[in-house]
């Protein structure tokens, strides 16, 4: 701290002092760069160069074995003409539209429930809700095939108790995406924890004065809780939308891979799955690169729309940001 005390005194005109100070700052910058060097190298090699090279590849025909040959915007033209691109985008869009609202609503509901419980039981059930999140997505994919099996699966077994004849979740193209969206609810635990932390940060005084004014639970929830945690809800919506657009593991495990003829593939052909197939199964690296850029543009556009909407909907306290 004596260094900081010395600093103002040293800011005089003494040129000798100034030179040493400049030298110190140079040393400081050099030391900083040394600490930053892992990221700088990594950024250049694994981010900056790949971005540039991917953009270049998207304008070429490249199969890894032969050198890339420049074909202009042909890949992008093909993106429009390829019916599977439209299908994959549509599948991904439908899945996102189903999954994100479900996921967010369920995690809010569970967080509110936990917030209502006593300290000990909320701690216990928080753990219970979080545990499935630890399951590797591949295992979730396997579990999906088992639990949602049309004939013998546990889901339809339970639906049967209520006299509901459950659909063939894993084979009926109409039910594959809803099934995957429901399965994804099993791993809401992370969002629940984030929302619960946000709920606990809502000042108690707000509820007390609302109660004095005669507000009931529902009014308190819609007028206090939801606005106060809306930045967190927004965060979860954005992060989940981006993740849903890139969904891969569970659906790929359950519906794709070598020798899979059993299940209806096309209904679960999500965008990143198709991209992966193009790149690493058909070795259409140029085309897959163009696909990646289209995905990037779509995600950016959707995130921008969400940000724009959030300006109107999300409530930020004056002192936050």
């Amino acid at each position: 701290m004596s260094v900081t005390e010395l600093a103002p005194a040293a800011s005089g005109i003494d040129p000798e002092r100034q030179r040493t100070r400049r030298a110190a700052r140079r040393r400081n910058t050099r030391a900083a760069l040394l600490f930053l060097s892992p990221w700088i190298i990594g950024f250049l090699v694994f981010t900056a160069w790949p971005i540039g090279y991917s953009a270049y590849l998207s304008l070429t025909d490249y199969d890894v074995i032969n050198d890339p040959s420049f074909i202009g915007f042909d890949n992008y033209v093909q993106l429009i003409e390829d019916p599977k691109i439209a299908l994959a985008l549509w599948n991904t869009f439908i899945f996102t539209v189903l999954q994100v609202p479900l996921y967010v609503i369920v995690s809010i509901a569970l967080a509110v429930l936990l917030n209502q419980a006593g300290r000990r039981s909320s701690g216990f059930f928080r753990t219970v809700f979080f545990l499935p999140k630890m399951t590797p997505p591949v295992a979730v994919g396997v579990l999906f095939l088992l639990l949602f099996n049309g004939q013998n699966g546990l889901i339809n077994h339970v639906l049967g108790w209520f006299g509901i004849n459950g659909p063939a979740w894993t084979t009926d193209p109409a039910w594959v995406k809803p099934g995957l969206a429901i399965m994804s609810l099993w791993t809401v635990g992370g969002s629940v924890i984030i929302l619960l932390a946000a709920l606990r940060a809502v000042p108690n005084q707000l509820y007390e004065s609302a109660r004095i004014d005669g507000a009931n639970f529902w009014q308190q929830t819609t007028k206090i809780t939801v606005p106060m945690i809306s930045p967190t809800i927004f965060f979860i919506v954005v992060v989940n939308t981006i993740a849903a657009f890139q969904t891969f593991d569970e659906a790929y495990t359950a519906f794709f891979g070598s020798g899979n003829t059993t299940y209806s593939n096309d209904a679960a052909l999500f965008y990143v799955i198709y991209l992966f197939q193009q790149a690493f199964q058909f070795l259409h690296m140029g085309y897959a690169s163009a696909m990646a850029w289209l995905l990037f543009v779509v995600i950016m556009a959707v995130t921008a729309i969400q940000l724009w909407v959030s300006r109107r909907v999300v409530y930020y306290e004056a002192d936050v940001r």
């Binding site: 694994f46 991917s54 295992a139 546990l154 790929y252």
Partner: protein, 335 residues
């Protein structure tokens, strides 16, 4: 020198047992900054006793509400745990009974575990995954901590712009860099080896750099200046003072990355060809292709392999439960 360095920081260093508290203190200060209130962002058991009476008042709810809340929690608790219990139970059932939806197997058998062990080089897969997981978690923690320290301790021109770049890379979908990254490893002759699964972590990861920087920024600067006067150089300050104080946040990074590395399927699919080099998720996918889609429908093998893939993660969670929960809560509070 080490002695001298450690003395001025003697006071603020939390005792090993109080490490989680140090973590919480960091988080609480953030919560305070953002909401201007004394409310905890995370549940903090240690302070439970000293809670103001308003909290107790809030908890005194009508009996009916309390019963309803508990009942709902129990129902959801069953919904969330049952799939895994179902999976474990099915792994002890013979082939014909996997789908019988009975909690207790009619015929209890360990045969599936023996079969899986014979059909697949599981021990090798587990070893490969363990190797990748440890290397990925350790390297990303060290490198990200270094970079985060560089961004938080030093002042230099262009710092904020550079940090903006770090944040921007988080927005980039993995698909964009996936192909060129593959070409890099392919060019190095590393396809078919485990290197591509972890070595990228030597260069830090934007998310953890962001997370750790938040914690470094929350630490009192005086300690470091005091150490500097005592003659400690930059590296000593970082390793001897900053890192020990950061232990809780480093544990979070380790755990998060361990989970990410253990469960990673995509890289295994891209880079691994030989069964001998498979990680467990990649191996499990191979088993699905072989025993599920191959037309043989040996679900009992898939069930058992799924259990084996998952159990290490459950163990990991119970080892670091607190850190997981607090780490996730922190992640969200930046929203």
């Amino acid at each position: 020198m080490t002695q001298q360095v450690s003395r001025p920081m003697g006071e603020p260093v939390p005792a090993p047992t109080a490490a989680p508290l140090g973590f919480e203190a960091g988080m609480r200060s953030r919560a305070e900054r953002s909401s201007g209130l004394e409310q905890d962002a995370v549940e903090s058991e240690p302070t439970a006793g000293s809670k103001p009476p308003q909290d107790r008042q809030r908890r005194r709810k009508p009996l009916l509400v309390r019963i309803a809340v508990t009942a709902l929690l129990v129902v959801f608790g069953v919904v969330f745990t049952y799939p895994f219990i179902w999976l474990v139970s099915a792994s002890f059932k013979p082939r014909g009974e996997v789908f019988d939806n009975q909690l207790i197997p009619n015929t209890f058998t360990l045969e599936n575990y023996v079969t899986v062990w014979q059909e697949a080089p599981l021990a090798l897969w587990l070893w490969n995954t363990l190797l990748v997981t440890v290397l990925a978690a350790v390297t990303v923690t060290i490198s990200s901590a270094m970079v985060a320290w560089g961004f938080s301790y030093f002042q230099f021109r262009g710092r904020n712009a550079l940090f903006g770049f770090v944040l921007a890379t988080m927005m980039l979908p993995g698909a964009v860099t996936m192909i060129p990254t593959f070409l890099i490893w392919n060019g190095l002759g590393a396809t078919g080896t485990l290197y591509p699964l972890w070595a990228g972590n030597l260069f830090g990861s934007a998310f953890y750099i962001f997370l750790l920087r938040q914690f470094f920024l929350g630490m009192p600067r005086d300690i470091f200046e005091a150490a500097r006067i005592d003659g400690a150089n930059n590296w000593t300050i970082f390793t001897r003072i900053a890192l020990p104080l950061m232990k809780p946040a480093l544990v979070v990074t380790l755990l998060f990355e361990a989970q990410a590395a253990w469960t990673d399927l995509m890289r295994g699919l891209i880079y691994l060809r030989d069964s001998d080099t498979f990680t467990v998720p990649r191996g499990l996918k191979a088993l699905v292709d072989q025993f599920g889609f191959g037309g043989e429908w040996h679900w009992e093998i898939l069930v058992t392999a799924s259990v084996i893939t998952t159990v290490p993660m459950i163990i990991l969670f119970f080892i670091g439960q607190r850190s997981f929960v607090e780490g996730i809560a922190t992640t969200g509070s930046k929203g």
